[in-house]
């Protein structure tokens, strides 16, 4: 199992795809933090919830982490490397488990980079504009720790989703539509259901205070449940389907 995880981690590192996702993530986080941090009024940024929103922009890393996780599965089907992968490790459950672990580790790295850059810039902007941090130490810790955990778990969601969909374009479009459209629509229309979506479980986990969100710990558990549920659905599909 360690062997398979090492193999999967090398797959993540040995193409430029991951680097592209990291650069895309950095660009998006920079764009949002700079726009929000520089264009908002000082009075607005002195408000505790607005500060929390600004400092939570590093959580945009989640969707990139999910894409990296999905590509860990779908690129194998796209390029046919799934054949040698299964020839070398015919126990497909072991392959999926290794991809999950490698994905979670890669996702954690996405979180460290994304949240690190986002938080550092936000903090610098607040300091340079003479705005004092009104969030408590515990709130900041929840924001940072929650973002790291959520970003890692998003990669797990991506791996499971990729195992179910297998088609690369389908998985990428599906994840983007899910993360950016479906979750928000559902939360807007039926918040009692929508708060269980990964996007809003993440918001809960990092301590955002919107109405209807779950408590932080429950948000974290819901994200874990999504990872487990998708893996449980994806595993028999991966194990039973013939590889052409």
């Amino acid at each position: 199992m360690i062997a398979q995880i090492r193999a999967e981690l090398l797959k993540v590192r040995s193409t430029r795809t991951t680097l592209g996702l990291v650069l895309g993530m950095i660009a998006l986080i920079l764009l949002f933090t700079l726009l929000t941090g520089l264009l908002s009024k000082i009075t607005a940024l002195s408000d505790v919830e607005n500060q929390r929103d600004l400092l939570s922009l590093g959580s945009l890393a989640g969707i990139f982490s999910a894409l990296a996780g999905a590509l860990l599965v779908t690129s194998e089907f796209r390029f046919g490397t799934i054949r040698p992968t299964f020839l070398f490790t015919p126990r497909r459950s072991r392959v999926l488990a290794a991809k999950l672990v490698a994905g979670l580790l890669a996702g954690l790295a996405f979180g460290v980079i994304g949240e690190g850059i986002g938080f550092a810039i936000d903090y610098a902007i607040l300091a340079s504009r003479g705005i004092s941090l009104v969030l408590s130490g515990g709130e900041v810790a929840l924001l940072v720790g929650g973002t790291l955990a959520a970003t890692a778990l998003w990669a797990g969601i991506g791996v499971g989703f990729g195992a179910i969909v297998r088609n690369q374009v389908g998985a990428v479009i599906g994840l983007l539509a899910w993360g950016f459209i479906v979750d928000n629509l559902l939360f807007g229309l039926v918040p009692s259901v929508g708060r269980f979506t990964p996007t809003h479980a993440q918001d809960a986990l990092i301590g955002l205070k919107s109405d209807h969100l779950l408590p932080p710990a429950a948000g974290g558990l819901v994200l874990v449940a999504w990872v487990v549920a998708l893996a449980v659905i994806g595993l028999p599909l991966l194990a039973r389907r013939d590889v052409n």
Binding site: A3, Q4, R6, A7, E8, L10, K11, S14, T15, R16, T17, S75, F79, G80, T81, R83, P84, T85, F86, L87, F88, T89, P90, R91, R240, D242, V243, N244
Partner: protein, 315 residues
């Protein structure tokens, strides 16, 4: 001796289509077997079942007396190449091999060893997208050799290789089998493997049509002899009198079937007919292969006579 590869009443159906139909065979250690048949005959599907990538509808596919998926560290016993294109184009050849060697718990240095073995060492650091088809074929073979396996299974390995590459592969497989290891190599062109293999399995429409040694198959073809003479009519009479079948080239050239050149020469001598040329025609193995597999699996898949069939279009 136990079979290295065994198919037991192996069948695979896709809906109404029967791709592999009650196929049974055994392969012994140290042999090179050609797995032959037209495109769509069920070769690739059979290999996928032997390698645990596809599940049989019925019957069993065994390597070293077990289903592939039950082998401990299978890469150390079986090496396989199914497609020449199974690489991420953006990954270097060396990294491709390392992802696999790590999964097989082999040291990274093994990747460099097999790169040297297939003469790709200089290209190992380059992205696969810059590789020629021949280089990709060799990289696939390198991956199959990572675990120093006892059995090699190759699907259409000669596709896309230039004549030099085909010769290299032939020598390589010969040396591999000489060490007591086993090779199963598929092809839709008998001539491609006729100089390499010891025995052939010929399939058509998912069924086994011939299982024989190459020597037996050649004997079954029987030679044909071309003879040039100024007196065709008299020679034909003499040959037919001796019970031999002839077909004409023109009035000076006869084609004699099922006889050796010695026999034809002796008959001509006995009949007092001068002979200007006496030639044993090159093996017509390909002809018998085409006869055995006449009526290919899918309508329209039969190549026109003499034409090179298209590469396997299966996904």
């Amino acid at each position: 001796m136990s079979a290295v590869v065994r198919a037991e009443s192996l069948s695979k159906r896709f809906g109404k289509l029967t791709a592999v139909d009650d196929l049974s065979f055994d392969l012994e250690a140290g042999t090179i077997t050609g797995f032959l048949g037209p495109n769509g005959a069920g070769k690739t599907t059979t290999l996928r079942m032997l390698l645990g990538l596809a599940a049989p509808t019925s019957g069993r596919a065994l390597v070293f007396e077990r289903p592939y998926a039950q082998l401990e560290r299978p890469a150390l016993r079986v090496g396989a190449v199914l497609e020449a294109t199974d690489f991420h184009p953006g990954r270097s050849g060396r990294d491709h091999l390392r992802t696999l060697s790590r999964a097989a718990e082999l040291p990274d240095a093994r990747a460099d060893e097999v790169l040297r073995l297939v003469e790709l060492h200089d290209a190992g650091g380059r992205r696969v997208k810059g590789y020629s088809l021949g280089m990709r074929q060799r990289l696939g073979l390198a991956a199959a050799l990572l675990g120093d396996p006892e059995l090699l299974i190759l699907d259409e390995p000669a596709n896309g290789l230039d004549p030099e590459g085909v010769r290299w592969l032939r020598d390589f497989l010969r040396a591999f089998a000489a060490q007591g290891r086993t090779v199963l190599v598929s092809s839709h062109v008998l001539a491609e493997v006729a100089q390499t293999v010891d025995q052939v399995l010929i399939v058509n429409r998912g069924r086994l049509v011939v299982e024989s040694s190459l020597a037996q198959l050649t004997a079954r073809v029987g030679g044909s002899v071309r003879v040039r003479t100024p007196d065709g009519a008299r020679l034909r009479e003499a040959l037919e009198h001796a019970g031999l079948e002839t077909s004409d080239g023109d009035e000076h050239v006869l084609l004699v079937h099922g006889a050796t050149s010695e026999r034809v020469g002796e008959i001509a001598f006995a009949a007092g007919v001068p002979v200007h040329e006496l030639v044993t025609e090159g093996s017509s193995l390909e002809q018998i292969f085409l006869e055995l597999t006449a009526g290919a699996a899918s309508p329209g898949a039969q190549p026109p006579a003499g034409a090179q069939p298209p590469p396997e279009a299966q996904q």
